[in-house]
Amino acid sequence: MIDVSKGTARRLVDIHGWSAAVLGLALYIVVFSGAIVVFSHEIGNWSVSGHKQGEGIAGNIDAKLISLAEQVDEDYLEEVTLFQNSAGELITFFHTHVNNDEGELEEKGTRFVLDPDSLEILSRDDGFREDMPIISSGFLERFYIDLHVRLHAPGVIGLYLTGILGLILFVSAVSGFILHRHLIKDVFLSPRLSTRLMNTRDRHALAGTWGLVFSILLAFTGAFFSFATTLGLPVIAITAFAGDQHLALETIIGIPEAEDDTPKNFVGLEAIITNSQQEDVAGSTPIFIAVQHWGRADSRVITTHGPTAEGSMFFTNHRYDGVTGEYLGEKPGLGNVPSTGSTVIGLIGVLHFGWFAGLLSRIIWLSLGLAMCYVTLTGLQLWVQRREKSDTWQSLSRFISVIGYGLPFSMVTAAVGFLFSYSSSEYDVENWTVTGFLLGVVLSFIVGFVYPVAEQREKLFQKITGLGFISLPIIRLLTSEQSWAEYSHAIAVMSMDISLFITGLILLVLSTGIMRAKRFNVKASVETSATEPAFEAKA
């Protein structure tokens, strides 16, 4: 596409190939799990069979919250958060901000998990937020999200890792764009069947070409989210605020108003939520509520609303007076007044999460993620096929199928572990979900090393993963002890069941080899002659 010298092209080939060869499989894990967590809310709801019904956050919650406020340490009224998880449970956290043993500022307080219908306290935990036990009802969803966001690595290390992988994807996409000299000419070139190598190259180039723009966008936005707080904020603090991170954070989030600790009764949330649901305010039920300085004259309530299919495509925040309930206007994501920076941040979220327009945008974003996985895996296959004589690189081909199929399989076994443990003992949910995932990983490696022939290996992976997908709705039905007909009100649960079943069937059909590409021609036909892409010849 862009004319570069031979030396530059060779260096770009090295960057494009080696970065993917070294980190491609880790990148695949992040991208695949990212594609799946576009439906995290539905996964969370499905995993508990949508059993928690009730008005939840939009119900009569004031009396309960006031009674909870009386049960906690007075310091914890500094900030109160409230949200409803995918399982439907209400989670409220009364907390303050104090330094932990390492000297880092952390949230410390009391967390209640409430039944959305009866508002009965399901659990109460005290202490630092990071030390609190997991909320079992949302754990499967959390497990998948953490796999995408931090690869389950501790602290900021995970964010750095995924941030670096985002940059690797960015570099690969840009270098691929520069290297592919016939980007426009080959845009409708179906993968040729002359040789396996040519076929893989064409499959990789075609998918990469069409997915180029969104690969770059998703890579950049993903890297931004990983680095924004871990690296971006300290750098901004050092460069613009003389190292004062608190001042930097206050400026970015919005400098708080003057404090007034005169005791005043908290107005309650019900009227505020009703107000925020009006079309001229947010037009939807808040997904998150934060109350600052509960029971003081300077109390403020911020309601956060998610994007809606027919409304705003951004997350929006609205401010209310915590004493009078008066609407104080919309609060931008950054700072106190609307700005270009705030819009850009909002747009980055829109482009990365794909939640901005309901089901259709989620389906498209899931498909984009899977298409990027395809580009990553075909790129790795191409790298290995070009090094057919190297035993070292041939061993990588096993890893490609072990990770390629092993990841979805392990995510399925994690879900199996979750379903069984959630129905029998909620306290073991974390252990069994993780154990399920690790068992899936071990099984994948066993299959990878027992079956040396790629075709056999892949067929077996397709079979076991397909059976795994089909087993999920069955296990969920058995463990939830309810018939399928009882879920007619829970659209997400029914849709997930059907989707999992169909995915499983597709994999089983694929495992029969019916859809496998026709044999490659041994003779190189005219297909190979015309215009060989530049990097094919150079590599």
Binding site: P191, A357, L360
Partner: protein, 87 residues
């Protein structure tokens, strides 16, 4: 009209244009030994028409639909180009 419907409509227009372009693509025809397309091709017009839904969506301020259409376009293009032509 809902955002979803507008998006699907825009995708349908672009899909039609891409199928038209694919079937007349000279390299694809040459590589798979199809007969040379000897009639008029109008590739520029077809590409313009392919992107017109995006311009219209921006003009009528349907930004959600525009982003979805743009993202879907990359998937539609890929799935249109992927199948081997029937020789």
């Amino acid at each position: 009209m809902s955002v979803q419907l507008i998006t699907l409509l825009a995708c349908a227009v672009s899909f039609t244009c891409l199928v038209y372009l694919r079937n007349r693509d000279p390299k694809r025809r040459r590589v798979f030994r199809l007969a040379v397309w000897d009639k008029k091709r109008y590739p520029t017009l077809a590409w313009l028409l392919c992107f017109i839904p995006g311009v219209v969506l921006l003009y009528i301020e349907q930004y959600s639909a525009f982003i979805m259409w743009l993202a879907a376009l990359s998937l539609i293009g890929w799935t249109v180009a992927l199948p081997k032509p029937k020789v």
